[in-house]
Assembly symmetry: D3
Homo-oligomer: 238 residues x 6
């Protein structure tokens, strides 16, 4: 029933390549089917003004798409002189999702910026970004541990994200673009490895949908996130 | 237990004044406690380029806050030369929420812009904006009916929004600012009058929270939206 | 002869509501007929760089219009990414008008920003802004006195503003929009309560006009400002 | 008494060189003492959208200062990405002053842009700009007449501008920078050759000033503008 | 002598992967040592306004760097709201280099935008971009031929680019970052496969250098470009 | 053969007027035929952040064109809110050319900004800017020497620039606009008085050109720069 032939509760082929970017303290090139995102984590020895002399660090995220990552070319945001609303919305979501698990008192007055750049897009770029960003961030923290700058990775848990939706009347896991653009409803779930909620965003694309339908999407998401978290651990060797 | 002394499932004092703005086709000055938002709906006899000659109309929304609507003065977005990420995120949410209920083939090639301007802020400005925007938009459609330009109000249902959150361990309805800034989790629910989902956004402010806790917030939201919808109907006399 | 039926030297119905904005140190919601402006005065414990360690304070003003304050919707300046020339011109005028009466050595190194936001427009928004801004600013200074931070309100006089114009050959006081858009000439007078000049701006809309005609506008303005100043004192209880 | 040794009612040395700019349809390099402004008038065979198919033309103005026209270097507006409030205010004034005398039905659907660029500044740049702009605009119209595109110069009169001020208690004509920066009050007068008002802007720099003082400034201005208009006619050979 | 151990006239390891980007009409992922650039060519069925109804097409280029392509993170241009001078300079160079070889009358009224995005930077990103851009553009033209839209690839020749420099007194080919940041002079050569000049840019980084030294850089460049052109042909199978 | 009737190796009429700008520390109004550029050098007692406490100074350049310096009016960059790519490219070139000869340790922690503003354009504005900028900069340094702030002019040599091109098959010196817009190739040479290279930029406008043709342009440039340097010395009296 799905254009890709996948089962309703089946993720796309996923791969995660930590350390892809030679220059960054942490990085992960994540592929979810034909959606490819390069996530890098950059450590800087400074914090934003509101945290100076607080002993706390900061984690923030930025998101971008290469102009021809998509089916038809998008204008380059740098050339137009501003980021689109969608871009801003997504990078705020990634940042909140990471901060929810980071102990900001655990890595000194440092700022870590996680950049998620979409090299190729086929639906689900924001959830792939979050899943890959966790790996890049973990790697950057791990490097600080190796360098003896901090004692342990200051994260309280593990986070991954996936989208689910109602497609042709059925709840399906991990929408690709052909599904996403025809879904009746879709929801992005940012969950911990034990299924707790960090962020949920659900939207009716056509008619409003019921609490029960939302529940069925949630169940799929828990399954998907659990699998993604296992892959993250494998990629990181933890 | 709540700073305001309200019961856990009690809305703030709500008032809605349709027709507040003399110049607009539709308007509503909504007060949710000390949160005051002026919503106006402006009808224009043109549509964005992607809808020209399609026979369809468009509904969009913009959001703003007066610089001193808040406890300390915010810089004016017009002076800084760009809208903040939060502003963009909110106005996209308002627009999607309205479009989910509007039949865009039912009012010709017209664009309706709903402006939600926060005159005073005490938490919940985005949900108050959506609730008031529905009234302003309805009034604008009704005016088109009165003028004989369309036959009926092209909306498939009724929409209102409310925020709920976990505050000191309890699920509470309709957060005000003192609650919002100390909540463990909060969620915005945009629902129809019969409790179906248009948009849900839930965020852990401290630790991730469980599906059961999310369910208790949802229940409060359905109660609150039901009451808000009754007030909208009363304000509109429908 | 006037569209509103007013006498040539008659102001519109005026009301001033000090303290309208719960969050601001000073505020005034001023209505001049159908022109409604919310003025707030925000006190900050800092000054611009050029005044640091000077012992002097600063007063500045910003101006804005809600998108649908006018007969047809204007684009939102924040969305377009810049303030229009007219906006800049008006807010500079308001700022100069206030600073002309303030003793900047009399309230320490503080900055007061007066925001004038037009909720509804029917001509004369800049003069209404100045008249209301005086009230908001006075209230903010008075609060500093009450808090024991300064000894007295550091203002050397009282200021109000009104527009006059040549309409159908007659000099008239306090133009509303129908008059303003058909005037042969109009002038904005920012005067002290004893009729001295703080700022005068006169413009020929059609043919150049004579010094004698300008004199007749000036006379009307002195009458109007005198009445407005009385209302300000009544509103402030001084 | 004046730093320059001029009499109270004496203009600076003035020169006007029409045709200075080889490429422009009209131009004038005006020197008022050490204030030097290059004014060019550019004719384009198109009008702004709001005038298309109206048979009417448009005249507009832009103003700029070279970064080191002033005593200390100003940041380049193009590099900062926006025009300052003062710049916008001045170019709007120049445009209004010219349009007040132009018959916009008298030169077809053409737009004339008058650029006033300050090469060197010593006070009074906006009034020098207006005086020079008239010459440049006249020359551009005259060229259209020569080319047979219009029958006569479509201007109803002649305009020049000058600033006057209260300096050390005396009313003085044509302020230079040392006077301008110490004046108690100053006013810019844009007048026709017969002394009628196109635009007046008066501002108290220190204490508010009286109607009588304003009158004395006006008298000086009429004398100065009369002399400037004679020089314009001489420069143009009319 | 070179940090990399290469011979003076030795290129880095080069690889070119055409067709890397699934969505683009043409693409090439080029690696010159640790400098990695993704080049995509996007065909659109429209031209800029100045070419409408001319029967001619247009080729343009844009350039960007991922924020952490470099050793320390650069601010994202989209977030800062403008492209840096260096970016603008490079993308103009890429565009000119391609247009020099394209017959713009040979592919109808189409615009092809070549995006060169630096995934990882180690010196020579602009020359790698040009070399890869040729491959992406060729592929896009070839696709139009396959689709029967044009008869042949409308390019008059082949272009590649390489940088040369004076490093520790010796002329060297294909500078990497450690060399580039310590060179006494460097020059970028954009040449055809037969060694003719499309663009040359030479700059003294320390002392001015002689015509003879420039000549020795030119000789190296011709060797390098010749090798790069052979690799382009191999990658394209032509 | 040349439109101007000049010999192939003949410069235009050149004049340089140092000290043209009353307010600047150094200045030069340079005329190369009908190309007129005002260059000013402004000394500020501060350096950019990256040089603070380094004991070093900085030289930078900015470039602009008056809107009607050209044959048809260009939009004003300040009004459009950004500098064009061409502008950015040129001002970077001017800055590099000057810095190549300045000993930045020789004038303390000062910044000198050289502004090159084109008053009238007829081709070759960037090379005229560099030639005039040298004079303005020298004058500013000389003033620091006179004031006893530095001991000698901290420049290691002399720089001038000229463009050469292939026009109707011949190499010609110092292109004017009619030649520039029809050249097959053109190159800008920034050379020292003894013919060494500071910067070279050569571009094929039509077909790629040969190394031999490039050599003939270089020979012309050396002759032209030698003559320009003599005129600079004469203007400066050194």
């Amino acid at each position: 029933m799905r254009p890709s032939g996948r089962a309703l509760d089946e993720l796309r082929n996923i791969s995660m390549e930590p350390g892809y970017a030679k220059n960054a303290e942490g990085s992960c090139f994540i592929k979810c089917g034909d959606t490819h995102v390069l996530c890098t984590a950059s450590v800087e020895e400074r914090v934003p003004p509101f945290l100076r002399n607080s002993g706390k660090g900061w984690v923030t995220a930025e998101y971008g798409m290469l102009p021809r990552s998509t089916g038809s070319r998008m204008g380059r945001e740098a050339a137009r002189g501003k980021q689109q609303g969608r871009t801003v919305e997504i990078q705020r979501l990634i940042g909140r999702s990471l901060r929810a698990l980071v102990n900001i008192e655990g890595f000194g007055e440092r700022q870590i910026t996680v950049d998620c750049d979409v090299i190729q897009a086929d639906g689900g770029t924001r959830t792939a970004s979050i899943t890959g960003a966790y790996v890049a961030l973990y790697q950057a923290f791990d490097k600080l541990v190796e360098q003896g700058k901090i004692l342990e990775v200051p994260m309280k848990g593990q986070v991954a994200a996936v989208s689910c939706g109602l497609y042709k009347g059925n709840p399906v896991l991990d929408l690709d673009y052909p599904e996403d653009s025809n879904a009746q409803a879709d929801a992005n779930f940012v969950l911990t490895s034990n299924g707790h909620i960090i962020e949920i965003q659900g939207t009716a694309e056509e008619d409003p949908f019921s609490e029960a339908q939302f529940g069925s999407l949630f169940s799929l998401a828990k399954k998907g996130v659990s699998e993604l978290c296992a892959m993250q651990r494998e990629a990181l060797g933890i």
